[in-house]
Amino acid sequence: MMFDYQARRHFVDRMMVFLCGAAAFIALVPLGSLLWFVILQGIKRMGTPGILVAITVSLVLLALPYMIYKYLKHLPYLAYPLAFLAGLWVLGLLGQLWKVASQIDWKDMGFFIHTPTPVGVPGGGMGNAILGTLTLVAIASCVGLPIGILAGVYLSEFGKKGKFAWAVRFTADVLSGVPSIVTGIVAYTLIVKPMHHFSAVAGGVALGFMMIPITTRTTEELVKMVPHSIREASWALGVPQWKTILLIVIRTAKNGILTGVLLSIARIAGETAPLLFTAFNNQFWPTGINQPTASLTVQVFTYAISPFEDWHDQAWTGALVLLLLVLAVNMAAKLLFKNPRQLLR
């Protein structure tokens, strides 16, 4: 009798683990294929960095069969065939990848240092768009971060229960869910219309608006995580309230706040909609933040809807650069966030 129950429970447990695992694997398919497509299409025009990407991806792929084997080591009848199949599959993928990668001119950095060329003229790049994206993110950070972080500190330190704090919190939650094109229209009406031309400032402000709710809420949560005893300890040393908050509380939560900041940057760096009619686009190197400015996303959009093969390739490469940018920022955030307990160290 006893044995029966155990066997059944064991079976049900296995089944559930298998179901969840299968769902997780299926979830991986669209994400993985998206990455694969962008990489495959994007490295063509990327030059030197393209080769580096191809090498990195190859190494990751080669590690895949071994990882499968390692995770299923306790099930040899499953681990060996699966690892073998994965190995075959990886070989196929590698063939596909290097067929593309072998066409790359590995000394070519043109995509990163040149401005777009007219259709048919070879050698165009997105240097100005990459610089433009960085400019826009910088302007957005100048607008969004101070406001967002200080507002977050206010919410967690002073306005815990007030009606005003409730309103701020509610607005921030609503705003972080608002479609980004709405932010774009607002920035258009507020800045582009009175100035009568598109500009990097307008785009940066639109992105900055989007950063405020994200940073406000993450900062609030992380400052709340700082134990109250640390504040009390600081007060008991005769440290005034504002210094306690600035130099003890924020300092204690700084890794967490920085993570939130990086994630919000990663979030806005990939926005297209609010830039379409604020920063607009530009074929040349930017001459000032008061001018229309190209950005990777808008450039990718423009090229992708064009009818030209060369521009399509460049759009893919732009997408890959954007992806790597976001990946880098996310990796930095992950490194900071490695151990949640370390946030308070």
């Binding site: 005893s229 009390e232 007060w235 008991a236 005769g238 005034p240 130099l247 204690t252």
Partner: protein, 289 residues
Amino acid sequence: MIEEMDEKVKKTGAKVESKPGESRKIEVVHQEPSGEVKPVKMRAAQVCAWFGGKQALFSVNMDIFEREVTAIIGPSGCGKSTLIRCFNRMHETVPGSRFGGTILLDRENIYDPKVDPVAVRRRVGMVFQKPTPFPTLSIYDNVAIGLRLNGTRDKKTLDEVVEKSLRKAALWEEVKDGLHRAGAGLSGGQQQRLCIARSLAVDLEVLLMDEPCSALDPISTSKIEDLIHELRQNYTIIIVTHNMQQAARVSQKTAFMLNGKLIEYDATEKVFTNPTNKLTEDYITGRFG
């Protein structure tokens, strides 16, 4: 306010003596029934405290004597922590709390509207139940931060003060080779001594200890107790403790509190051997609490 206090001082039978040439630093003194006169460092008069609508302290009167250790004992929730937190105005940091009465530090009422609570806390430091070193800071910075945040920048002064404070807290020998390691990496007992060193680094006169040993093992506890004996040479100490043996070991005066009222306050020896109040006797002999 001081005039008003003088009235109270007269009523409670103590007298105020002024030393020639020292008009500001007049000491409050207390005359024992035996005729002995002792300087009073802090005096609580008619101290009441509330959390929201709930009253936690009911007009407590208490003289804290200079360079003595005063222990406050009593069952959980009797208001001992609330009382000790009133002595450096930490009570008012709790939202919804209220305070009534006066507390003198030397001769100054620390609850006078003109007095800055931050300045009070620099003179009356506090050590908490759980060690609370600042987690992002090194041992050195943990000790130096009080001074730094109050405007001292000079490296040499800071070095001196850090060493002096750590020596006073009997931690110097253990940490001198790794002053720049994280303060949170020390053991619990060391962390607690680090917190004491941190309080000593500012111009401390009175040290409040809110159950400083209840999170520590017996060896760390005995180290802290030795330290309290050392510190008594220079500082006035008030210690809240659950442990009656500890109160008997470290203190010269013991106060017994129950339900927010001060039941008995006398020399430690007297409280533990021959308490006046029946309630004190019951508590000390373990009949309740």
